[in-house]
Subunit: 228 residues, 2 copies
């Protein structure tokens, strides 16, 4: 499903170059459950943004479902993001002036093939699943940190993506809510959805089958772990 | 040092009222180390914003160092925040168009009694302490999530506050960086600084002497725990 070949990202700040991700080669099969670990600043979000087609690599190749992402048009990339990928961002990226419900409906509106009533029902349903049934009308500034994170999670799932990317998706959640969310992700993975999760918490990482560890932009470990 | 008497915060959204913090009475002595726990949405950040003099309660009293906060002028509150309180926000609240270094220098500029060179030295020193010596000139958008969080931590500490308030201060940090930061907070607490930390992580909560647990805006537990 995902094939990276010498994929690399360098930020050019004039006098200094930050090699956020060094040439990385790896592949991820459909249906895998991957945890991406590593110290702060090691390149995890950089890799996730490349995987999510939000950012262009400095060099190297990224083939998604057989198509070279770098060669896609902007529209094609935008459509892939909307149809195939659900992304829970490290800083949520919610629209400030719209309600929780509208934030979650947004990907459905871009997809375009559902009625207003179907979108509303679907978004309401997902928000209820993450415990926010009584916060539908709240704007992000009227929500707690963990509630904002859960809106971001619902939004990532609403278009039933084939690939779920989560960048510290439970970082602001208490243990119990976090377990509920991980249960939901596990259920989706069993249904065939490819899950790639950045985390620094062992309780989240233990749900994954495969662990990829980054340090200073390099993959230093890529192993399988089994249920425990 | 801190005395709350029936302190309460209700958000009025027209058709519905959100009772974020119910009348709460408790006191915190100078030099205590408190962990504030509870589910997502239980009122932790609401309580922290009241303690940090960033928000006004709906009712009740908050006395800080013997002075009733609600009766202070805006300037007096602003001065207290700058001189006595260091706040690490759940969403960092960094200035987007300024560098890490300038973000950390900002409280020193408001305090007003140091030269440009002294401010620069102090801010540089703190950023080095949290491992960001090579990121001084980066703007927040050029920093990883955990790096932004560390800039927020350095900024909270630069004015040597008497009270350190941290709202999930290590939520975006890997285990090792998190331990370094907790080590720094522990050192400050031993020097007499009052530390109040919101967290949902056991590894953070275990550093505190006192645990206060919130649920639905109520304090449901207030206990002491000892080193283990
Ligand atoms: N401006 C606001 N208007 C309306 N309701 C609000 C507002 N701010 C917060 N709330 C509500 O108040 C409650 C408490 O919020 P608070 O941010 O204190 O929770 P929290 O314990 O910090 O949660 P988390 O662990 O998720 O950060 C939440 O249910 C939230 O929806
Ligand atoms: N726009 C940018 N310009 C310059 N450097 C950047 C930029 N974005 C990120 N970096 C740098 O690239 C490195 C990797 O960043 P990245 O966000 O991928 O780290 P991360 O592993 O997600 O860290 P964290 O766990 O703290 O979120 C960091 O050292 C960061 O300072
Ligand atoms: Mg990151
Ligand atoms: Mg909060």
């Amino acid at each position: 499903l995902i094939q990276l070949q010498d994929l690399c990202k360098t930020y050019d700040l004039g006098e200094v170059q930050v090699r956020a991700l060094r040439p990385t080669t790896l592949s991820i099969e459909a249906g895998e459950y991957v945890a991406l670990l590593g110290p702060s600043g090691s390149g995890k979000s950089t890799l996730m943004n490349l995987l999510g087609c939000l950012d262009q690599p400095t060099s190297g190749s990224y083939s998604l479902d057989g198509v070279e992402v770098a060669k896609m048009s902007r529209d094609a990339r935008s459509r892939i993001r909307n149809e195939k990928i659900g992304f829970v961002f490290q800083n949520f990226n919610l629209l400030a002036r719209t309600s929780a419900l509208e934030n979650v409906e947004l990907p459905l509106m871009y997809a375009g093939h559902q009625s207003h009533r179907q979108r509303r029902a679907k978004a309401t349903d997902l928000l209820a699943k993450v415990g926010l049934a009584d916060r539908l009308g709240h704007h992000p500034s009227q929500l707690s940190g963990g509630q904002q994170q859960r809106v971001a999670i619902a939004r990532a799932l609403v278009n039933e993506p084939a690939i779920l990317l989560g960048d510290e998706p439970t970082g602001n959640l208490d243990t119990r809510t976090s377990q509920e969310v991980m249960g939901l992700f596990g259920e989706l993975n069993r249904q065939g959805i490819t899950v790639i999760m950045v985390t620094h918490e062992q309780d989240v990482a233990r749900h994954a089958r495969r662990l990829i560890v980054l340090r200073d932009g390099d993959v230093i470990a890529d192993t399988e772990q089994f249920e425990r």
